[in-house]
Subunit: 261 residues, 4 copies
C-alpha cells in the first residue's frame, strides 16, 4: 500500500469525440491510468481533466498532490499558461511529474525541458519492444529484460530533449526506428519521468507492464523532505536570496568598491 | 587564429549609469570581453547591446553568429520575448551560448534550463577560488588546478539549474559558500556554458584566467556540422515529423485501429 | 523500520592500535556506524572486519546483504583480491555499496570506478561545511541546505573519480579547498554512494547529520528486483550471452560470410 | 590536416589465421583503420599489434601517442597486465582511447569501466541502423540522422557499462535488439569513446560513415593541456597529495586531536 497522493491528469477529448477511442477507454485514459495505480496499491488517486475549472488543477489540488501524471495530445494549446506556471512551481518545490506519450509536446514538459521535445512519429500499427538499459533503477522493478507492445504509434529519434539524467528504456520499432522511451530528469526539488507508450487508439494503459512502470515511476518521483526549495515566494515569483551575513569572516580589503556607496 | 564568428551581447546599462562602473569598463563589459577574445586569436568578434534595434540581435546577426556570449543584470525584463525565442531557436539549431554571471537570471537562460536559475548571493568583496574538477575538459585548457579572484560578488548553492552534463569548475568563497561555477549543457544541436565570474563592480573580465576560460568556452561551444536540427520551420514553429514511410517492412496486423478510418 | 539487511565493514585496526582513537570509537568505527543505522530503524545490521576469516565477507554473508558499507584506511593492501572480486560481483548483481571517507583508496572502490580515486588531503582540524546541491535527492531527506562538521581531515579536488551520475554534496573547507563529497554511481544492477566525512581521529560517525545521510544512503542503495543481472555464472565468470535465436525475422542475404563456415 | 599522433592497436590474429578474414582485411584490421584515418587528414598514424614486443606499446610509443584505438577479440587474455596498467596510466594522464567493437571485453576497457562490459550478441548477417541521438556532439560531425550497415554481428542490451557521460548513437537491429553504440566517458584527464561497429567477418572499417566517426572520435578524444594529472609518480604509483600548507588561515581549535601527537 502507498500513501502517496497521485493526481492523474488527462486532456479527455479524444474519448468523448471518437467512438472507437471512447470504446477503448470507457472511463477515459485517466480512468485507465488511475485503475492501474490502484491495482498497484495506491490508495489516494484522483483525476483531473482539461475541461474542469482551472483544468482541475487548483492550488488546493496541487498542494495535496505528491505526483502528477500528464496525458495530453490535441489540445495542448488550450492549457492556460497560468496553470502551466503553477504546475512548474509545484514541480520545483518537489512534486513529481510523469509525462506520458504525446505529453511530450505539452506546454509543461517543454517549459521544464527548455527544448522543443519534438520527435519523428508514424501511425502504422507496428510492434515496439522496450529494452531495460538501467536494470538497477527503481523504475525497472519487477520487469524482464524487455517487454513488448504489439501495436503502437511509433516515436523515433532524434528526440529533442536535454540529455536524461538516467535513461531507463530504449525502444525498438518494427519499422526501423529507436527511441529513448524512459527518461529521468530533476528540476528544482522535483523529479520528472517521461514514458513513451500510450497512444489513444491502442489499449496501452491496460497493459500489465505499462501499469507496473507507471506505479514504479510514481514511487520514484515521490517528493523528498529535504532542504525546502528556497526560491519561491507567496506572490509566485522566484527571487534570489541575498545572504547579507557571511558564514565565515571576510578579511577587510582595499576594495575600490567601497567608493561606489 | 580562429574563424569562429562570435557575438558578445551586453545589457550595457551599468557602465553608462554609474561612474565607478563606467571607469572600470570604459568600453563596456562587452568591450572587455571582446578584447579578451581577440587576444586569444578570434578574428570575427562583434558586439550587440540591449538598446540597439532588436537588441542588436537581428535574424541576420544571429545567422552569422557561431557563438553568442550573454551578460545582463538589471534589465532582464526589458529583453523582448520575441528576441529570446529567436535566440533559443538558433541555439537549438547549433549556435553556442555562453551565459555569464548575472545572466543566470536572464530570460534566455531560464527558458533553456526550465528552472528558476536562482541562487544565494552576497556583495562583500570576498575572495573566490575556482577549482577545476574536470581537468581533461577542453574548457580547462591552459589552466592550473585552481585560480583565484581577489574580490568578487559571491554566488552560492543551491543553484537551481538542471544537473550539468559536465561540471568543470567548483568555487570556494571566503565567506563560507560553494558554487558550481562552470556548467556545460546541450539543448537541441547547441551547446551552452554557464560561467559564474563577472560582476560589474570588479574588473573580472580583464583577468587573464577568466579570459582564457571564455576563449576555451567559445571554442568548445562552436557549432558542429552534424545532422541538421529537424524541428524548425520557416514560420518559427517546431513541428514534429510524420514519417509516413517506414524504413523496414511492417507486418500486416489484425488491428482494431483499421476501424477508425 | 526497515527490513534491509546491512553489513557494516571496517578495517578495525586504528581503534585497536591507538589509544586516542580507541577512546573515540570504543566499539570500533563499525560499532558507531551500526549504532547510527539502528537509531534510524534498521533492524538487520551486522558488522564485519578485516581480521575475521574471509574478512567477515563470506559468500553467505554477502548473499544475505542488501547494502554494504565500507571503511578502510591503512590496510587496503591487506584486503584479498578474491574477496574484492566477490564484493564486485555482488554489487553488479544489485547489492548497494556505501564507500566512506578513506575508503576512496580501497581496492573495491578503485576497481568499480576504474580510476585512481586519489585526492588532496590535509590534517589540520579545519571546519567543513557540506552544501546540498541536489535537494530533491533521497539522500538529502531531512537535511537543511547545509551542515557543518567542526573539525575534520580535509579532502580536496581534483578527486579522480568518473563524473558522478548525481552529485548530492559539495564541501567547503576552512583551508580553501572544495570537494565533491556525496557522489552517486551505478555499476551493473548495483548502486554506489561515496560519502566523504569520517576520519578516525574525529567523532564523525556520532554526528546526527552524518548518521542521517548514512541511513538515507542505505535506503537509496537498496537492491531493486528488476531484470536479473545476466552476466554472472556459477564459476564466477562474466560471460556474454549468445542470442542464437533472433526476436524478429532476419532476411536472407547474399552474405559472403556464408563462405566462412 | 591534423597533427594528432594516433596509434592503431590490433590483436591481428583472425586475419592471419582465417583466409576469408585475411581476404577482407589484407593489411589487417589495423591497416584498414589507419588508412581511414589518413584519408581524413591524420598525418601521424602508426600501428601496433599484440605479437610485437610489449604488444607494440612501449613507454616510448605511448608517450608519443595522443589517441590510441583498440581492437581485440579472441586473445584479450594474452594482453599482459603490465601493458594494460601502462595504458590506463596514460589515459589518466590524458591520452584518448577509442575502444572498438569486441574490444568491449578487453582488459583495458573493463579496467577503466569497473564493470563486466558484457552484452548479448548474435552472428546472423543482420542489418544495423545507427541513429544519432546527440546531433550537436563533435562525433556526429558530417553525419545524417542515421546510417546503416547492411550485415553485422548484433550487440544488444543490456550492455553492462557505467552510464555514458554522453550517448551519441543508438543502434537498431533487424533481429529485434537495440544497443548504445556510441558512448563517451572520461577517466582522469583522458577521454574514452566506445564505438560498436566492427566485426572481423564484415568489411566494416572500409565503410565511409564508420571511417568518419572514427576520425571525429579521434579529434574529440585529443588530450587537453589543462591541469596536469596530479596522482602519477615515476614508479607507476598513484599517490594522494598531502597539502601540508593550507591556502587560507585555519583558526586554532581546542581539538582533542592534539593529544594524538
Amino acid at each position: 500500500m502507498s500513501n502517496l497522493r497521485v493526481t492523474v491528469w488527462n486532456e479527455f477529448r479524444h474519448e468523448k469525440e471518437n467512438e472507437f477511442i471512447g470504446g477503448l477507454y470507457p472511463n477515459g485514459i485517466h480512468g485507465a491510468i488511475a485503475e492501474g495505480l490502484r491495482e498497484h496499491g495506491f490508495e489516494h488517486v484522483r483525476t483531473a481533466t482539461l475541461d474542469e475549472a482551472e483544468h482541475g488543477l487548483t492550488e488546493e489540488v496541487l498542494a495535496e498532490t505528491d505526483v502528477l501524471t500528464w496525458w495530453g495530445h490535441k489540445a495542448h494549446g488550450q492549457v492556460s499558461d497560468e496553470i502551466v506556471a503553477r504546475v512548474q512551481a509545484r514541480v520545483l518545490q518537489g512534486m513529481g511529474l510523469i509525462v506520458l506519450h504525446s505529453g511530450h509536446a505539452s506546454k509543461i514538459f517543454q517549459k521544464l525541458m527548455g527544448t522543443t521535445c519534438m520527435l519523428r512519429w508514424r501511425e502504422a500499427d507496428e510492434r515496439e519492444r522496450l529494452w531495460v538499459v538501467a536494470p538497477g533503477h527503481p523504475i525497472a522493478q519487477g520487469l524482464d529484460p524487455y517487454f513488448e507492445l504489439p501495436e503502437v504509434e511509433m516515436y523515433g529519434e532524434f528526440f529533442d530533449i536535454p540529455q536524461p539524467e538516467q535513461l531507463v528504456f530504449v525502444s525498438w520499432f518494427e519499422g526501423g526506428n529507436v527511441f529513448r522511451s524512459g527518461c529521468c530528469f530533476s528540476r528544482g526539488n522535483g523529479k520528472i519521468f517521461y514514458f513513451r507508450p500510450g497512444h489513444e487508439t491502442y489499449p496501452i494503459y491496460f497493459d500489465a507492464n505499462v501499469r507496473r512502470v507507471l506505479a514504479n515511476a510514481v514511487r520514484w518521483a515521490a517528493p523528498v523532505a529535504g532542504p525546502e526549495f528556497p526560491y519561491y515566494s507567496a506572490n509566485g515569483r522566484f527571487p534570489a536570496i541575498n545572504e547579507k551575513q557571511s558564514l565565515e569572516p571576510i578579511a577587510r580589503k582595499e576594495s575600490k568598491r567601497a567608493r561606489i556607496g
